[in-house]
Amino acid sequence: MLRPAGAWAHRAAGATSPRTGWLRSFVRRQQLGAASGAVILLMALVALLAPLVAPHDPLETSFLLMLRPPSPEFPLGTDAFGRDVLSRIIYGSRTALLVGFSTSFVGSSLGTVIGVASAHFGGKTDLLAQRVMDIFLSFPLIILAIAVVAVLGTGVLNVIVAITVPIVPRVARVVRSSALAVREMPYVEAARALGASHRRIILRHMLPNVMAPSLIMLTAYLGQAILLEASLSFLGLGVAEPVPAWGLMLRGAGTQFIERAPWLAIAPGLAISSTVIAFNLLGDSVRDALDPKLRVA
């Protein structure tokens, strides 16, 4: 029987328990990645428990408390609306993680299905699908995202769509090349010979065996998606006020308030950077662990 993790399950062979063995060997071999994973887990926990962790309401404005420097009551100061910066950063992690996970998950799933289907059907279908993907790849990531925002407008959901669209063709191309190899495997040929339906061959036989590149692409795009959301929000083309988002918090920080409130410029930037670093390092480790030969540009 094929396990969902078919392509890389053999790596766990010999480990004590087949269920947790892969985790143990990952932690041992990829220490940096494991540490990043721990940081991300902590971050997810903070995001989940935001109402308990945050000292203030992130949306509560106050004209009396505008642009206050850091103090014991407001450890990171307050913004131009008198809102607590620390609380907004804590709640902002929800936006970042929501957008990051949903875009890279949906994007890599769609890309994987398209890539596998394209490889399976081959011929004209494959050619057409690949040409369309190539054309989408001619758009720089952020430019395509901006174009989608121009059509759909701003807001969390629209930003998720805008970031997912450019991820799909990038995943599809990488997964297709792996799927082409899987297509020639004896077990896929056997399934074809048995008269299995396209659906069955794709879902049951090919998909589980391209999980490694698919997972690699998913983790590779997590950090990028979070960075892209922050950039869009910073430009005013992403998440809209008053939703707490890190990129949005930096809007005006470099110009309007830079002399009066330099603290506004530091904390959100550190939050974005550390999150993206953690996700990038985790992504690199997952890639090294699953397939050292695959390069993700």
Partner: protein
Amino acid sequence: MRRYIVQRILLTIPTLLGVATIIFVLMRVVPGDIVLLRYAGEGAFVTQETIVQERARLGLDQPLWRQFADWIWGAAQLDFGTSMWTGRPIVSEVALRFELSLQLAVMAVIIAALVAVPLGVLSAIKAGTSVDYLIRVFSILGLALPSFWVGIVLILLLLSVFHWSPPVTFTPLRVDLGENLSQLIWPALVVGYRYSAVATRMTRSAMLEVLREDYIRTARSKGLKESVVMVRHALRNALLPVITVFGLEFAFLLGGLVVTEQVFNLNGIGKLTVEAVVRRDYTMVQALVLLMASVFVLVNFLVDMAYAWLDPRIRFR
């Protein structure tokens, strides 16, 4: 070589056509249409007559195939119609801002090359040492730090150290070279740093690979100076993949321009794009997206040419 160039040009044309088609489709899946959406966004009362007029002016009352043909034909002649915001021809609006963005891009590319190649080589030569480690951290940070934040922090530093803040007006190159460079060097550094990150990593790994080759050992054993071995024998061969990376990463340079122009208040193509989206100037957005995608396609074409020129094996494949 000529046959290869012709082949590559012929491959570029359908790609550009496809890009224009996708933009056309994208702008037509707008709920309602762009005229309605634009006026709805303004909140003012608009008569039905104005809407019909505006639709006619933009050619939206024509059948779809006609609109598509006009769009492609216009784009081929660099005629994108007029801006829905200013009413002026889009080509002249873009031309006004093109110089600044082009100069910024060129400066960023130079900075990126000056950072990436020496650091990558040094990192490879000193592989495993603390120098290597530092350079790798530097390039990892380049990938992870949002360039708009690097820009903001840079402005903060410049402000507190030199009391310098981004000027309100831009001085063109022809007017005052010194003033112009002092304005653009900081944003160019920000964009160039991001651009150099992947290239540094690529230079390092390409150098490491090349340094293991037999001909390097041969060069050393015949008593050549180490610097000659590194530059003439190793670097020359390691640069090929680096050039490819520069082409692929050009997308990030364009993205970097969009964001950095906003931070440094530079009135270039990037800022124009953001403003066009905010103002719902759809004709402008579609022209700018097409422009940037075309530039990206063109740069990759040039990179392929450079690659073929540097590595004769490619052309004969």
